[in-house]
């Protein structure tokens, strides 16, 4: 191992610190070092968005960032969005409107949608579609994802 660096960040509200390889990607830090496997990897060209998390409140693709670059940041992953009995409104809406099938894209979709609603609480359909253009889903055809995001925006 070519040396290692210490990274410290707040993940889902808890402070985390670890010695990691400088080349370790943030997504692998979350998944493998912290065991937060709800964040997924679907590509190697930062196109699919399965790895989307929030960094300091904004959606980013965690495969495009080194863990070291996120040193000091606040990270939220899908595991930090809601729990059984206290789901995030977007989680509720994806469930209610069948916005997922295999579920692999879903955590990334929810994180990207949460970012959109944060910036634009009442988006129209076209704005939802544009905002999710960086998140690929092979199962749903997007119809119910869009419906879920619009419903969540109505509900809030």
């Amino acid at each position: 191992m070519a040396g290692s660096v210490r990274v410290t960040m707040t993940v889902n509200g808890a402070q985390q610190s670890a010695e990691v390889e400088p080349r370790l990607l943030l997504v692998h830090f979350l998944r493998e070092t912290l065991g937060l496997t709800g964040t997924h990897v679907g590509c190697d060209t930062s196109n699919c968005g399965a790895c989307t998390v929030h960094l300091n409140g904004e959606a980013i693709k965690s495969c495009t960032l080194l863990a070291a670059q996120a040193d000091g940041a606040e990270i939220t992953t899908i595991e930090g969005m809601g729990q059984e009995g206290a789901l995030h409104p977007l989680q509720e809406a994806f469930w209610e409107h069948h916005g997922l099938q295999c579920g692999y894209c879903t955590p990334g979709m929810i994180m990207a949608s949460a970012d959109l609603l944060e910036r634009n609480p009442k988006p129209n359909e076209e704005e939802v579609r544009e905002a999710l253009a960086g998140n690929l889903c092979r199962c749903t055809g997007y119809h119910n994802i869009v419906k879920a995001v619009l419903a969540a925006s109505e509900a809030s």
């Binding site: 080349r23 060209t45 295999c102 955590p107 690929l136």
Partner: protein
């Protein structure tokens, strides 16, 4: 009153039972599963499309810290090459050996040549780059039509690139074309695409103390167990295959992959668990592709629009090897080549052709999208030639609703259908011509239709099996239903869902029949170590075959329950029915027992009928009598920018009929996804190899999957024509949207371009191709 008049769970758009774990990020996909002592694997893959392996030097890689072993093809002492499951009687299918690691020659870019195993996930990838392989390049065969004609060979020892010839016909073709007053011929290209499930494939092989547990992102754990046993020479009882949460498959995980076999072999050799997860780039190279055929289609009709004959010759690009079902795929389409039309003579002649590319195999629809694409395009082409309205032409040739069960010229018996009704419903839903008429200045709009059927619910084994179609397997399905002492229910299904929502659908089937809440019906799948055998999820079979086996196992439970209740209430079993959640005597609903009370009596057997076994658990195997034939009508409006060639889908409406809906929400979701899969093929996606056999579209930056911004929302409706084949009346729906949609889009683009003189165009309809077609028509 019906015998199952409890809460009508069947037909309800229930929220899915599988969703909580998925929306909370708590599901366990293959990449989320690790075991103590686990090593990591990385494959060294050929950068050459066709070459002889002169030498492989593994020394440097093997010397890297943390590397445990490096293996090449000849190290793997397997019992057999990778499997291919189709042996059609009387047809020679040339099947070149295909090993988990290539031995002497590589035949496509991405062909694996070595396997590096070590303790660190990243270090094995680095070490793999240090394996030095000397290749002697051989001639590369890429173009399908040239490969068919001869010249350079993919497998020199076969002496030809032609793998097999297979035909299916019925009726008098010569008479049909003689009777035709108009004949239209087209060359229809259905290009190569990727399944592109968003979850990459992955495998974790764990051989210990003489037994192998292999967890894989697969659609077919039961087949996988069988072939692992055969390939490694392990008794089947010592092999357990598990499909964990699987992130989509679309056919691309209906396969026995060399990586699964190689990892199992290495785990046994090293006595350590070994794991591998493909990168997307690796997956694009080495996860099977789909489609890739050229059809020379010919349709004949009278002047007044009665179709008299249809002939098609299909060249199927098989890629470099035959995988599990590679050569079978175009034949699946041949059974429904005449679509929804009553055509007296139909013939399909298929030639499978090898090229230096990744093998093709089943991708969503598997042969049926290709068949539907050509017949539905040919209908529009014929209508144009006849100067007849294309819907009128369709109606004129539809099989009539009264004619079902309808035996086609091919001898295939379509189970049920009402094609005019589906089309009428579509036309009532959306006025597509009005939308077309509102084209903004400078833009062209076109309307497209597709009226389709397909063949699914695989399958009656006597038809598809070794002495029939030639698949070396049965295609039944199984289910076990266990009512626990508390009245909670566990269902074990042999299907292996990976997004289709079967945990919910099957729970609804059972809940309806037992008078329980679907929330208390757990559906277990994807593990050969639990429950009965099964055959997996593909070919839109899981509800029509798997769901029916669940219904049948549940019926056996109900039968036993009635006997127990009758005994306890001193009534006759025939008089017991399910009323408001209780099995009660007809006419006196207050005297009855819930399934929980019945199972209590079954598991504490103090008072059971004489000779009855205790417990409440039943198994059913179901082999259908026939396939099922879903159908429907799709229509869309596209908008073309003639200056750029860009195509936008601005309206898409669809009516699909898969029999009585069990969960309408899930059915609609399947249709949405299916349509976008086909829009992807029609407009964006293309697996493209250059003339040297290099994969040009080998990652998600270059392979353009449609995004949310590329597609519209959909207007859906259903008609419900029950199938007489199974007791649920259901037909498959997983592939229907994909089967219907590509000709709908293509026909719409042609409709838009007709004013410019473009009368025919092949997919994919990216801006460049559309623009070129416009320019060509100007000349």
């Amino acid at each position: 009153m019906s015998a199952t008049a409890a809460e009508p769970w069947v037909g309800k758009p229930l929220k899915r039972k599988e969703d909580p774990r998925l929306i909370m990020g708590r599901a366990r996909y293959i990449d989320d599963i690790n075991v103590t002592g686990q090593l990591w694997a990385s494959f060294v893959r050929s950068p050459e499309a066709h070459a002889r392996i002169v030498s492989i030097d593994t020394a440097e890689a093997a010397a890297q810290p943390g590397v445990h072993a490096v293996y090449v093809g000849n190290d793997l002492d397997l019992e057999a090459p990778l499997p291919m499951a189709w042996v059609p009687p009387g047809v020679e299918v040339k099947n070149p050996p295909h090993w988990a690691l290539a031995k002497d020659e590589v035949h496509h870019v991405g062909d694996p040549v070595a396997l590096v195993i070590g303790s660190d996930r990243y270090a094995v990838v680095d070490a793999a780059q240090l394996v030095s392989v000397e290749y002697e390049p051989l001639p590369v065969v890429v173009d399908l039509e040239k490969a068919y004609e001869g010249g350079d060979l993919v497998h020199a020892d076969l002496g030809t690139n032609q793998c097999h010839e297979w035909s299916l016909g019925g009726g008098d073709l010569e008479a049909g074309f003689n009777a035709a007053e108009v004949v239209v011929e087209r060359r229809i290209v259905n290009h190569r695409t990727a399944g592109a499930a968003i979850e990459p494939r992955g495998v974790l092989a764990d051989y210990r103390a003489g037994s192998l547990t292999l967890t894989s992102s697969t659609q077919v754990p039961h087949f996988l167990r069988l072939f692992l046993a055969l390939q490694l020479g392990i008794s089947e009882d010592r092999v357990r295959a598990i499909a964990p949460e699987v992130g989509g498959g679309f056919g691309s995980k209906l396969q026995i992959y060399g990586e699964e076999i190689a990892l199992a072999w290495a785990s046994r050799k090293l006595e350590r668990p070994v794991k591998w997860v493909e990168s997307r780039t690796e997956g694009m190279l080495a996860t099977h592709h789909g489609r890739d055929q050229i059809a020379y289609a010919k349709i004949g009709a009278t002047r007044d629009g009665k179709i008299t004959a249809y002939h098609t010759k299909i060249l199927q690009d098989l890629g470099a090897y035959l995988m599990l079902l590679t050569p079978t795929i175009p034949s699946l389409g041949a059974f429904v080549m005449s679509g929804v039309y009553d055509i007296p003579a139909v013939q399909t002649d298929i030639v499978g052709v090898f090229t230096n590319k990744m093998p093709t195999d089943a991708i969503r629809g598997a042969g049926r999208p290709e068949a539907t694409h050509q017949i539905e395009m040919m209908i529009d082409q014929l209508a144009d030639e006849l100067g007849m309205d294309r819907l009128e032409l369709r109606r004129k040739n539809f099989m009539t609703p009264e004619s079902f069960p309808h035996e086609t010229a091919l001898g295939v018996v379509y189970d049920s259908g009402d094609y005019p009704k589906a089309l009428d419903t579509l036309l009532e839903m959306a006025d597509l011509d009005a939308i077309k008429a509102q084209a903004p200045a400078g833009k062209l709009r076109g309307v497209g239709y597709s009226t389709y059927t397909e063949i699914c619910g695989l399958a009656p084994s006597r038809v598809t099996g070794p002495s029939g179609f030639g698949l070396q397997t049965g295609l039944w399905e199984s289910a076990m239903v266990r009512v626990h002492i508390t009245g909670a229910v566990t269902v074990y299904t042999g299907t292996s869902p990976h997004g289709q929502g079967l945990e919910t659908t099957m729970a609804q089937i059972v809940a309806q029949r037992l008078g329980v809440d679907p929330q208390n019906v757990e559906v277990i799948h994807g593990d050969t170590g639990t429950g009965p055998q099964g055959l997996g999820t593909y070919g839109s079979r899981s509800t029509a075959v798997g769901g029916e086996s669940v219904a049948r196992a549940t019926a056996k439970i109900v039968e036993k329950a009635r006997q127990i209740v009758a005994h306890q209430l001193e009534a006759s079993p025939e008089d017991i029915e399910l009323i408001d959640g209780k099995f009660a005597v007809k006419g006196s609903p207050d005297k009855g027992m819930t399934i929980g009370e019945i199972s209590g009596a079954a598991y504490i057997p103090e008072n059971l009928p004489e000779g009855m076994e205790p417990g409440l658990e039943e198994l059913a195997f179901y082999d259908p009598e026939n396939f099922v034939f879903p159908f429907g009508a799709h229509g869309c409006v596209v908008e073309v920018d003639p200056d750029t060639g860009n195509v936008d889908v601005i309206k898409y409406a669809a009516v699909d009929d898969c029999g009585p809906a069990i969960n309408p929400k899930i059915i609609d979701g399947q249709v949405h996804g299916g349509i976008v899969h086909a829009i992807g093929q029609a407009l964006f996606e293309r697996i493209h190899y250059d003339e040297d056999g290099q994969l040009v579209t080998g990652n998600f930056a270059d392979y353009a999957l449609p995004s949310a911004a590329d597609v519209p929302s959909f207007d859906l409706d259903r008609t419900e024509t029950p199938s007489p084949v199974n007791s649920l009346g259901v037909k498959g729906i997983g592939e229907a949207g994909t089967i219907a949609a590509s000709p709908c889009i293509t026909n719409a683009v042609i409709d838009a371009l007709r004013p410019l003189g473009v009368t025919f165009i092949n997919m994919p309809l990216g801006p460049q191709r559309v623009w070129e077609a416009i320019e060509e028509a100007k000349r």
